[in-house]
Amino acid sequence: MEVLGIPDPWVWGAYILCILAVIICVIYGIINWNKGGEDEEEQIKEELEWEKKEREMEEDELGF
């Protein structure tokens, strides 16, 4: 069977699969657009704390 002018199913299969893969990514992105950010505030705080500690350590050890 020829699809889009390509005879080998292993090749047109890849062509179609590329497009499906993009669609999966887009759908996943849309569905989860607002998910995973529930504890964001806490995470950012955690990060700031971490960076502060790192800086303090550098100041203590290196004097700058």
Partner: protein, 527 residues
């Protein structure tokens, strides 16, 4: 060459880059900033920057060029790029890497692995592997860019290579990764629209999607005799299963790059700069679309350029490019597309090269500064910045020298080999670091060392493409490759190195003392 047009396009672009670079430079305050640039990055910037780092001039020029030889079967690489390089990388690897990286306060990929396994050795060994292996990758990116400038502007290859290396070096040394990321996002955006234009352009030029593919299918009898002898069957059908042509396409080009992307040190670090899982979820959308447009377009254009060159020059693409696949894409764009587009595309490609190169040099600098120097000499900060910047300068010089001495047709293979090497060395230990609590330090070390040694041995002594070019097997044993019977000389190092490394990582882990509960809790907290 239209100097006026070129000048205007280049100037606008340079102003934009200079501005982002300046903003980044102003924000770079300490060694800490220089290493990972804070930890809060917008998802658009993250995805674009990841994409622009991952898909470079190497992908567009090099892999687009090999698609001109191997045909549309290369689209399997696009499938892997999207499903593995974006979806699995962001959703499975990204989220854990980010959280674990934060838990362990890891700033580089080697440091991440080292702290996860509590082993300084892992840090400086992987730092060294990165520093020694990466110049090959950096040089093929430089080559891709120089080939484009050479073809589009009729400028000497040598001059193009030197000027670009200098610009990137100055930029990276003064900017650090923050600048690299913002500039990447700018470049990613330009690339995005450039590729859309190119994709529509080629189908329009060849009379439609099915028509273009059909014309390419009809060209199968024109496949070069040499390719047919090694298994090629046409540009719209896969090569004969198990033939050398098939092995190169499937093991080196598709698997090597498609899977190797997961353990790319410069990409893993990107995850740690994202502020939450939500940003990664959003980045999947942007990233998937972006990678599809970049790789899908360049492979389709590379393959279909055969039809264009046949209709307009009576030759297949590789003949029109004088036998050098690296020149197929630049030549097609220069000949088939309007001049203004060729110039914008060139600027796009230069920007792609810039982003990949700057992040490659950055990784090499931190590999030596933080991972090797600081770890071995037990110092922290201060002089490290100097050492890291010195290492970057050295890395640039090595890449430029390689740019001069490497042969034609090298971009895709050079990229693939670097991806294979990192996959064999790091992938198994990285996967178990994220997902298997029973994995141990000794398992990781065993896998890393075997993966590195086996893939290096394979590269130097068995894999025909690299062994012949390097000539070490010829010098030591008087034969270009140690194993001559098919299919081995065409089988990519990743096919041998990665499974052996994976098995050893697991077996040695099971045989050795598991890590302490306390350490595991610290690593996996919140993942």
């Amino acid at each position: 060459m239209n100097v006026m047009l070129l000048t205007i396009i280049t100037l606008i672009y340079l102003i934009l880059v200079a501005y982002t670079g300046y903003v980044a430079w102003k924000r770079t305050k300490s060694a800490e900033d220089y290493m990972v640039a804070g930890r809060t990055t917008h998802p658009y910037i993250m995805a674009m920057s990841y994409g622009a780092t991952f898909i470079s001039t190497a992908a567009i020029v090099g892999f687009g060029g090999v698609a001109g030889i191997y045909g549309m079967g290369l689209l399997w690489l696009t499938v892997l790029n999207i499903l593995v390089g974006i979806f699995i990388a962001f959703v499975l690897f990204g989220k854990r890497t980010r959280k674990m990286g934060h838990n362990l306060s890891a700033l580089t990929f080697p440091e991440f692995l080292s702290r996860r396994y509590n082993s300084k050795f892992i840090q400086y060994f992987s730092g060294l592997v990165i520093f020694l292996g990466m110049p090959l990758y950096a040089s093929v990116v430089l080559i891709g860019m120089a080939r484009f400038v050479e073809t589009t502007l009729n400028i000497d290859y040598t001059i193009a290579l030197l000027v670009m290396a200098l610009i990137v070096a100055i930029y990276v040394i003064f900017g650090g990764i923050k600048g690299v990321m913002y500039t990447d996002a700018l470049q990613g955006t330009i690339m995005f629209f450039g590729m859309i234009f190119l994709l529509f352009g080629i189908y329009y030029l060849l009379g439609g999607v099915t028509e273009a593919h059909q014309a390419l299918t009809n060209m199968a009898p024109l496949m070069p005799a040499e390719a047919v002898q090694t298994g090629a069957t046409g540009w719209t059908s896969m090569p004969s299963l198990g033939s050398p042509f098939w092995w190169t396409l499937v093991s080196t080009l598709i698997l090597g790059v498609g899977i190797g992307v997961l353990s790319q040190p410069q990409l893993a670090v990107r995850f740690m700069t994202v502020k939450s899982n939500r940003e990664l979820n959003r980045a999947v959308l942007v990233g998937g679309l972006f990678i599809f447009l970049m790789t899908g377009t360049s492979f389709i254009v590379g393959a279909l350029s055969n039809v264009y060159f046949l209709q307009n020059a009576g030759q297949i693409a590789i003949q029109a490019a004088g036998g050098n696949a690296d020149k197929i894409i630049p030549l097609f764009i220069t000949k088939a597309m309007p001049l203004w587009f060729a110039y914008i595309f060139m600027v796009t490609l230069l920007s792609a090269a810039m982003s990949t190169l700057s992040s490659q040099f950055h990784v090499q600098g931190t590999a030596i500064g933080r991972d090797v120097y600081e770890t071995i000499f037990r110092v922290k900060g201060g002089s490290t910045v100097l050492i890291a910047r010195g290492a970057i300068a050295l890395a640039v010089i090595i890449a430029v020298i390689l740019g001069f001495i490497l042969p034609g047709n090298i971009i895709a293979v050079g990229t693939a080999l670097w991806f294979s090497l990192t996959a064999a060395a790091f992938l198994s230990m990285y996967v178990v670091a994220l997902f298997w609590k029973r994995s141990t330090r000794w398992g990781a070390i065993a896998g890393m060392i075997t993966g590195t040694l086996i893939s290096s041995f394979w590269l130097f002594f068995v894999f025909k493409k690299s062994a012949e070019a390097l000539g070490i097997s010829q010098l030591l044993f008087g034969t270009p490759t140690l194993i001559t019977s098919a299919p081995w000389p065409a089988v990519d190092p990743i096919v041998i190195g990665l499974p052996v490394a994976a098995i050893l990582t697991i077996v040695v882990s099971l045989m050795t003392q598991p890590p302490s509960e306390e350490h595991l809790e610290k690593c996996f907290e919140g993942t």
